[in-house]
Subunit: 331 residues, 2 copies
């Protein structure tokens, strides 16, 4: 019998998440029933939203203490009792943090085998699609406009900035630390970068976007959202993608300027998750593939190894230590 | 020479607005130059936005101490030196709080003489059009959905609720005091009403909208916006029309749930002012006229008298003492 190592969420965090909240356990590898597949987890995707799931119900039900930690992963079908998948097929699924998982096959779709496989998690996965739909469908950028994005060196942010450049926009990245900011400009073509840890967020943002911001892609919420609200132009759009500044601590209140600035500047804010646009996936994939092939879109990945390193990988992600899409190779 | 009595904003308010901030003065009636008209002010419209103009630049430049208090009014052309208007024509214009005003005629449009004239300020004026466009263009309500509106007994709110009912929605009004709430249900067809002064806003709102809120028309911001955010359904829309809760005091921060709830519920918020939809005015006026004629839309007006009573009328409006559209008859 094959063993199945798992990471369990031992306790729900009240404040900051730490490795103490997780526990490594081992069970037997489960067997698929009718309509199910047994999946071998290859790469687990690390996402700020993982932390939000511990806070309460979001677009998925809240995690409970004792649950196998939830998370999306690229996985390979080992055994299938469903018509739509066969052994060897690749899928992206919420397997959780474990080596094997049995899932209903009905909602799983076979992915193409691309080289490298990790691109199925980064540019051709949730990160790339989130950037694509959030920017283009919620942000509605026009050539010549100024686009700002927070967590700009993160998995989604790097794609947002580059896609905005492809669309002819001026791009301002907001990231933590001088090194990340330099990299945004030198390696990813951002026009300007603002270090939110620099202590002068309002002033630095104003200098980086002297004509104001037309589209803001918000990954953080909090102080950065507030600063951007004050810098938005009339008729501006805000794509609300996440609130990573608030996942790891209580958020006592929202940003100043809500709703006053929304009214006076006639702003449009739209929250979204990537599956809201599933019917447009084909077009998005075609664009992302073309841009990647042509080199217009650089794919930055941050691949760690070992199931046991997942808790540390998430904690580090929440602290902003990664550049590009973070994932952990499990098998 | 005709005298022109004026109300001047003597001092900019730091905190609560009081009659001390205004001064009644008298000048000579001005004469129109080429391309201008001399207007006699008939009815001055009172609007919560009047107070916002004292806070800083909004969609118009901020008021300064010593300015004639700004405000929109229904006025009659007394003398014209412009081709597009003649003596006796009616216009709606930012005359300010005075008996006579000279304005450039270029941006003024002749209004029809309807009976009663006050309808040009209420249902066929900014209040009616704001309700119409905010609800239908920003709120995008569908029949069967639940629509909530704050300041529901105010000039805009009463129209919002009634138009939502005409469109087949379930309507929850939020207003201050039991008497107003009763009136919303008894006289204006609201399905439910919530007294925000009742001390149980979250619970009362949940009871009034047990299936959640699909469209929220926000006139207030602050605690009411916060409560509605928590009660919104996935895919809900919020029309951001004003922030009257914050005009008369500093707003230290925004509502909890921004942006977290916007993301997880995939909400759309849109700020607007009525002129954003000027190209659709004809259709709006046709609908508003038809509904008023058929009795589906009741027009509630609160008409006070006397230029000297304008400061008190605005202060009372900010305190929520009016029901329906407040205006002051000047001549």
């Amino acid at each position: 019998m094959t063993a199945n190592r798992q990471i369990v969420l031992a306790d729900l965090p009240k404040g900051k998440l730490s490795t103490e909240h997780f526990r490594l356990t081992q069970t037997e590898c489960p067997a698929p029933g009718e309509g199910e597949v047994l999946l071998k987890v290859l790469y687990v995707s690390l996402d700020a939203a993982n932390r939000a799931w511990m806070q309460g119900a979001t677009y998925r039900s809240a995690l409970q203490a004792g649950d196998v930690m939830a998370g999306g992963a690229l996985a390979e079908v080992v055994e299938s009792k469903a018509g739509n998948l066969k052994a060897g097929d690749l899928v992206f699924a919420d397997t959780g943090w474990q080596e094997y998982a049995v899932l209903k096959a009905k909602h799983l779709a076979k992915l193409p085998r691309v080289e490298p496989l990790t691109h199925l998690i980064s540019v051709f996965g949730v990160a790339g699609l989130t950037a694509y739909f959030g920017l283009l469908e919620c942000g509605l950028p026009k050539a010549g406009e100024t686009v700002a994005v927070s967590a700009a060196a993160g998995s989604v942010g790097l794609f947002v900035g580059q896609i905005a450049r492809i669309k002819g926009c001026r791009v301002v990245g907001i990231a933590g630390g001088a090194a990340k900011c330099q990299m945004l400009k030198d390696d990813f073509g951002f026009d300007e970068a603002v270090d939110y840890k620099g202590g002068n967020l309002f002033k630095d943002l104003k200098r980086a976007a002297p004509d104001g911001i037309d589209v803001y892609f918000d990954n953080t919420g909090g102080d950065i959202l507030e600063a951007c609200l004050f810098q938005m132009n009339v008729g501006g759009r805000i794509a609300c993608c996440g609130a990573v500044s608030q996942y790891d601590s209580a958020a006592p209140h929202g940003p100043r300027g809500v709703p006053g600035l929304i009214v006076t500047k006639r702003l449009r804010l739209r929250g979204f998750i990537v599956s809201d646009f599933a019917d447009q996936n084909d077009q998005a994939m075609a664009d992302l593939q073309a841009w990647t092939r042509s080199g217009q879109l650089k794919v930055q990945e941050d691949v760690l190894e070992g199931l046991e390193n997942l808790p540390g990988a998430l904690i580090g992600l929440l602290a902003g230590e990664n550049v590009g899409k973070r994932m952990v190779k499990v098998a």
